[in-house]
Amino acid sequence: MTHVAVIDYGMGNLHSVAKAIEHAGQQAAVPLQVSVTSAPEILRSADRLVFPGVGAMRDCMAEIRRLCIDEILREQVKLKPVLAICVGMQALLQRSEENGGVPCIGLFAGQVKRFADHQLDHAGAELKVPHMGWNRVRQTREHPLWAGIPDNDYFYFVHSYYAAPDAPNEIAGLSEYPTPFCAALTHKNVFAVQFHPEKSQRNGLQLYRNFLSWDGQA
């Protein structure tokens, strides 16, 4: 029985993340327990952690600190696979420029930046912010979490900010809007994605299945 804990720090609804993991577990015939929790003892005893996030970074980081999720993550990434999603991914960098500048957890060197307004696509149409919808992800390195997912295929995004890591070799996937930005980031036990696997149909469920069988690299 694999125990997956979805870290709940009160920001947004984690129902769809938990449901998608359960569905992926059924597809892969992996006996699974999924908890949605902020309880430190459960986060420490779980086999795998999923760190989602929705909403404004200042509010997210305030809750993450209040619940000591930052400390738990720093310690647990050494021990087990962690999948971070959307604002969860962004929170792993050092600082976000959202809300006038917010210090973040700092597991990855780099910043979180906002898409510029009034950028044009290749056809000259103005790009809207948030970047919302299905975009392609180019897999810039091989990784067990990309197994069975076609390169340059679509995932669902909803965000106005993106991670800009300092170390290019930590980037696992790039998307374009209109210039390339980091869609996936990895280091040792951590795989972090800007898109929402739980909303990305086939490819997203495949990524969750891959996560359930990934041993991590620490």
Binding site: S16, H23, D117, D121, G133, W134, V158, P178, K199
Partner: protein, 256 residues
Amino acid sequence: MSLAKRIIPCLDCDNGRVVKGVKFVDIRDAGDPVEISKRYCDQGADEITFLDITASSGERSTTIHTVEAIASQVFIPLTVGGGIRKLQDIRNMLNAGADKVGINTSAVLNPEFVREASDRFGSQCIVVAIDTKCVSKPGEPKRWEIFTHGGRNPTGLEAIAWARKMVDYGAGEILLTSMDRDGTRSGFDLELNRAISEAVTVPVIASGGVGNLQDLVDGILIGKADAVLAASIFHFGQFTIPQAKQYMRERGIEMR
């Protein structure tokens, strides 16, 4: 390579069944919402929109159960609209598994509700639905006005200014329905779509009037919509989603 345009099948639901009317009346039964959602998802729909048109609010629990059932089987974004009046309604729908909620009449009655909702839940999950009709006479400059209660009540609000205001208040997306076209299968109101899409910074979903696949193409290429919403052409088997995507792709539109 860029962001794909989206096809969004819309399920108008009355007391747990998918229905579809013409110009908001003459309702036909089109089936079970969970089965239909799953079929559209498997066919490659980019999102699902579920509009609860149940008249009595006493039936709201049916809607929550239906949303829960859809959300446990459909792993694409799900928007739920209809009867969203309080922050608690939004919380209930998000907890049931919706990703976004559509706010319509309540935004007109109390625009601050949109601000409160986006502050609390994030603008990414707040879709403001705008139902509008052309009220200018032939020969006059075009003017569209906002209507509520399924098109029965005029509000005096002008549509372009209203759309801008809703985005200022935190709408993350605009679902724009032409009530002149809804259910008529005569195509989107392209002039309306283009005017709103060029006026706001957030994505606009064109809705109301799709009768064939060229209408979808026109909505994006001429109406400048980011997504197209349709019901009848899919519900009654006239076209499938893969057919629609193929047709749009062949006309140069980026589709998933």
